[in-house]
Symmetry: C2
Subunit: 442 residues, 2 copies
């Protein structure tokens, strides 16, 4: 720990003494490295989640933020147990499986049942209940790759609501092909939902090679049975936190430029891409801009429990509902650590000339102007819904779903050069907005 602090202090003391302000371009990387090595996985509501909150407060303080605080919120805690999925006679193999977040467990001896396969959630919805009843539903929907991760939205429905749709038709459990684009043998977790009045059935994901394996087995023997065992816990309501810190504006301190990421992660990787990278980027951005004395206040929000369904963001939006007129802008970094390639906005028309000037400053980094339809990021979309202007520095997500929500989301997957480009872009965007007087609202 001492080594780390010394490095940061050294970088800052250099800055203080230099005529031209120098920037530690590796600060974002150092932060995500510290978070993933010293805290690691940090499932919302867990003991590690609390350690990540303490980590964030400590780092904000070390980095010289003017104000650091946490805002508690209640959440339903879900805890992963063991999971196993075995093909019974005639093939006798284990498949690589992970419970979906929020799923109940199985009876102790597991669920033994034949399987019915569908290619998509839509196919399942149209199925005859007689084909599904008492079976394990297997949705084998492959995810395609693109720079925007645009196919994710088409496939993730099976994860979110597949258990509800399967239960409506009398299924005993749900197994999905991972919502992931890699053929590495990792199962992707992620949040699923139940619906009141519909039976709750266990839900899990198998890796892409295991989905291929299972479909080949079913082609040979459609009667094969699976044994599914899971021991997840739903212990009840716990407290988690958003961690917030500010660099106070030098001229218009009451105008808040909010930049954000989420602090929580799924529990099997170390949450490097999702969303340690974002945490590093936005913490570093504000810390490095402090020396420039920005005119507006820069508020960094590290949201809690994004993964469970934007729980921290909802709490933030509710708590600050009456002050959101002071939020002149909001943005979130939560799509990994790939190079930024486009600057999308979600602002009033009158602000687009300003946005285009801003994009000219981003252009040397290879960043084009995008449409005025940005969400601002998952958590920030809660603020946009209440009128806060937003932008999205769009990251190259071509490989994002190779790692997302798997044990393989670790620090080594971050390209330090791409992360530096992210930091440079965030510095430019945040600086320009913090020093402007333009009204960005619609």
């Amino acid at each position: 720990m001492k080594v780390w602090i010394t490095t940061i202090l050294a970088a800052f003391s250099l800055n203080v003494h230099a005529q031209n302000v120098t920037i530690d371009k590796d600060l974002a990387y150092k932060l995500v490295e510290s978070l993933t090595v010293e805290v690691g996985p940090r499932l919302a509501g867990s003991e590690a989640d609390m350690r990540s909150v303490l980590w964030a407060e400590q780092k904000f303080t070390e980095l010289g933020f003017d104000k650091v605080w946490r805002e508690p919120f209640d959440m339903l805690y879900w805890e992963r147990g063991q999971a196993s999925l075995k093909v019974a006679a005639p093939f006798h193999q284990s498949l690589v499986v992970t419970a979906l977040g929020g799923s109940i467990g199985t009876p102790f001896d597991g669920i033994n049942s034949q399987v019915v396969m569908f290619n998509t959630l839509e196919e399942l919805k149209k199925a005859d209940a007689s084909k599904v009843k008492d079976r394990i539903v297997f949705i084998n929907h492959a995810l395609e790759k693109d720079i925007r991760g645009g196919f994710y939205g088409q496939v993730v429905g099976a994860r979110a609501t597949g258990a509800v749709e399967a239960a409506k038709l009398g299924a005993k459990a749900l197994v999905i092909r991972s919502v992931g684009s890699s053929n590495n043998r990792f199962a992707h977790t992620g949040q699923m939902r139940y619906e009141d009045g519909i039976e709750r059935i266990p839900a899990a994901a198998i890796s892409v090679p295991d989905a291929q394996q299972l479909s080949k087995m079913l082609a040979i023997n459609p009667e094969l049975t699976l044994n599914m065992q899971m021991s997840n816990n739903l212990p009840g309501t716990v407290t988690s936190h958003n961690v917030i810190a500010e660099i106070k504006g030098s001229k218009r301190p009451d105008e808040i430029v909010l930049i954000s990421a989420h602090l929580d992660s799924w529990d099997e990787g170390t949450g490097a891409l999702d969303d340690g990278a974002g945490v590093g980027i936005v913490m570093a951005t504000a810390a490095l801009l402090k020396q420039e004395k920005p005119e507006r206040t820069i508020r960094v929000v590290l949201f809690g429990n994004e993964e469970g369904g934007l729980i921290g963001a909802r709490a933030y939006a509710a708590k600050h509902h009456k002050q959101l007129h002071t939020h002149v802008f909001a943005s979130e970094s939560d799509f990994g650590a790939g190079r930024i390639w486009r600057f999308d906005t979600g602002m009033g028309e009158q602000a687009l000339a300003f946005a285009q000037e801003l994009q000219k400053k981003l252009a040397p980094l290879g960043i084009a102007m995008g449409p005025n339809t940005a969400s601002g990021g998952p958590d920030v979309s809660m603020l946009k819904a209440q009128g806060v202007p937003v932008a999205s520095l769009m990251q190259d997500g071509t490989d994002y779903f190779d790692y997302h929500h798997t044990p393989n989301d670790t620090l080594d997957k971050i390209d330090p050069t791409a992360l530096r480009q992210n930091l440079e872009a965030w510095l430019i965007m945040t600086r320009e907005i913090a020093n402007s007087q333009v009204n960005l609202r619609q």
Copy 2:
């Protein structure tokens, strides 16, 4: 199953009726697909190992081999249990770990100990016992990539004998960085050895990202402790088998051209690259050459328990010791499914002109002439040691150690195009040798 057999029969009936013999270029792929889907992982001595023996006998029979038999041998069975490796205070994280083959387990509550890191086995050997005593030794030796997998031999010593060297200095356990070249978060298993008179300590491997993680943690806090828990079993002696089949030579049936692979695999993947691909290649080669009525007998040997230390190969060499003069040639496919790029020999000087003519027939497949230093393959090296001439069709192994001995060794990692090229090369080599009268001996 029926579909599969019908396809094969269809291919063969076509061949029988055609004037020009046709070749099912996908037969090797179909065989490895069948083995990995219908049997899957097949750890030597396990129930799945016996299923793989039955699978091989059935496939040889279906493919029309003239003679099919199995040869039993005794082996010490080792069974994987659970494994966990946790970083205790202050970091509280789990590392991805796998037991090394042959390792004992830990006491039920695990081993709690500080860690001492070495970069190589050589460094450990030179260490002062006072630094090692009562600690967990961590050897963090990275594997480089090349087409021949040539760095493997430099690194694998830590896996094979690291526990012995660590125990000599009083260590409580051994943890190695996986002998693998991928940064995917899979731990590589593989056989380790104990030595009589040296205390037996548990030995495990962590994935490459986890090795990086642990070394970063140790840089921050050299005092950190690990908790290692493993529950492996060594139930004792069991019987496994080599499975053997022949296409009888039309002119010189007593001269045996032996082509081979190993049937067993490690237990976490489905053994597609190691060595299902080889099984498919050599079974398909002999099956397809049957219709050409080769002059010498082609014997396919699927060795058992290669992974445990060439146990099946040693049994074969011992059993056939007095008949090895009838073995005019031997070769094994056991380096994955990458394209073949070189033809290496291990023959008498008088045979090299013949080998060069043979290479000219391989050249259109992009295969160059190599040196006369081939081992013939791991199992076949036991035969070379007794004077049997050998060759090695060298496969591109650049990515082999990305998958080798991990849960990620699955069918999807095989490129069907590269596998076809393998089959074509094996057909050429085996045909030329089976139809020649050249003495290949040294």
